[in-house]
Amino acid sequence: MRFHIEVEHPERCIGCYSCLYACSRHLYSVVDPTRVAVFVRVNKSLENPFNIIACRFCAAPECALACPQGALETLPEGGVTLTPSKCAGCKNFDCIEACMLGALVLDRRARIPVICDRCGDCAKFCPHDIFRYEEMKT
């Protein structure tokens, strides 16, 4: 069963970072504001509204197309899966540069990109229902 996550109401964000903390807890069992697949972007000053960015699960993702190693593969339902063994050793990280939304970052410790596994914890911990999280229709 696959789930879809959509950032539906970024304008509701109050900057509580609950999504971001939940994401790093889930993916790495740590709290690390840099190793996440969901981002609270501060637009230069806290006077400006926050923006929330997460993977859009593109049908033909540029990140996968940019990967010379074939480490990122497109999933039939959209989005990508990563084979870390193929990724290791890359120094260019074209995948990160390829995502124009900026939804992909590098896990600077493991030197591989952080991939959303659609656990839905960002949606679960958001107090303002910014995310839509639902089962995908087959």
């Binding site: 900057g15 709290v31 230069k44 006077e47 107090p127």
Partner: protein, 608 residues
Amino acid sequence: MSSRLRRVLHIDLAEKESRVDERPELFDTYLGGAGVASKLLEEECPPRVDPFSPESPVIFAVGPFTGLLPSMVKTVAMFKSPLTGNLGESHCGGHFATALRFAGFGALVVKGAADGPSLVLIEDSEVRVKAASSLWGLSPLQVEKSLRSADQEGMESVASIGIAGENGVYYSGLIADRYHHFGRLGLGAVMGAKKLKAIRIHGTGEVALERPTEFKEFYEQIHRRIVQTEEMRKYHDLGTPINVMMLNELGALPTKNFTQPRFERAEGISGERFLETLLERKISCPGCPVGCIHLGGLRTSFSPEHELGRREAFEELELVPYNYEPIFALGSNLEIGDASSVLRLIAQCERLGMDAIMTGSVLAWLTEAVEKGLIPRQEIGELEPRWGDAPTYSKIMENIALTKNQFYKRLALGTAAAAEKYGGKDFAVSIGKNSPAGYATGYGFVVGTLVGARHSHLSNMGYSIDQKAVKSNLSLEQIVEKIADEEDWLYVYYSLVGCYFARGVYDEETIVKALALIGLPKAGGSLRGLGNEIFQRLYRFKVREGFNLGKEEIPKRMTEIETPYGRLDQGKLREMVQHYIRLRERQGLRLRREDEALTELLSPTAKT
């Protein structure tokens, strides 16, 4: 990286140098926040130091749950207060705590003085002290906009003083991340004396979870309690301004320099009115899903010739944080009855970087002193303060921040110091030289503020004990005992460092469980003992610096205002303080300066 705090960053502004001390035992014993800061203050602050001298330290500390648990979001600052001459302690939300922790530090100690305007930049382990003349004179809001990165991974915080801090106003603060304040007791002036305009911290580290599965479950329980139960509803709906109408109905809303407990125009400055007419946005501290920071919109037309039909299209919009205390201090206490005028005065405090509660207290005293003819006409000049006259108050505030002449320099020292010079001590509403918060609730509030280590309503919840005491007929002794108990316990909570608003969620059992989950097992009883130890250390500091609780006076005005108990009796207030002194002395604390003086005299190292 370990899940526990251990590193203290020391910065010397004069030498432009820094070092890191590994102090795991310090954090394991005193948790963090107030506990760790109290120990560092003891180590770093020389006795009887001039708060504005280079040797006077500024200390910041975060807690073991910073970044880990909901609402554990604050940073504790400790320093020697120029306002009271003893303990300076102020707590602030925003991004400061998480940025410092993810940069790898549990505490930060700043000493020395720079030779010109400076900025401290902390990028994880890389620390720089940079000359920053271009920032001097800017408002903390301009500094935030100028220094924050466009888009950066990790957590970033920008904290800055305003011109009030640059000019040594005794109640100037440090504003972090635009909307959060180390507001009380003059941290801004201490930084200003060091020529330290701002601190920017960027942290990209991580905090490991020792028992991840259990921790995640625990986190979820706390998160649910905060988001889904009634416990914290008041903070995310109307916010603390809900108190305006509540206290007005109770007859405990200080009005017109604490002469009345009710304000005729309370509705005009109520939380409801702010919400309906001014609220634009709400924001949170990172790690707290509540969103208690209410931002009101202040609209100002900047160019009359552009007003072509649609005036609002040519207005600048300024977002100003509001909550109950500034609304009382700059609203009811100055007889200002409309929300937008109050918001304008709050905005002025933000721009200048001044504590709103003390600013309101000084203005209220000044208005009454002028009415009573205590201030020579030539000193007041053009700006005659009148109840309800917000524009004049705003100009006076600016003159205070600029310390424009001898008169405003005196006002910049606080209410007690102003009354010392001009008279009017009876109505100088100042307790322990700090200005009390907005609760004319009675004995618990007055005594709690006086005996509290930092003379704050958040020291020991005296105002809240009052509301229970009136209902359940607590004796005055019982109130005193509750005050002492609360303060000990809150020093545990302030070591963690939790937000005061979430104190109900983190009861003793919850805290014991949470500490075990990060590998810091403590028994409930030992925690209370620790709270008492921290309190005692802070009081020893106060007494050492000259504070004498037995000799502190409670201004007459506090006994003239009607409270839910009726008028307070000066004799009973004194008895309560004496009861408190005996209670604390039984716990082994020396509160009398005579003892200290004698010890000093007999000590071979005594200064002559």
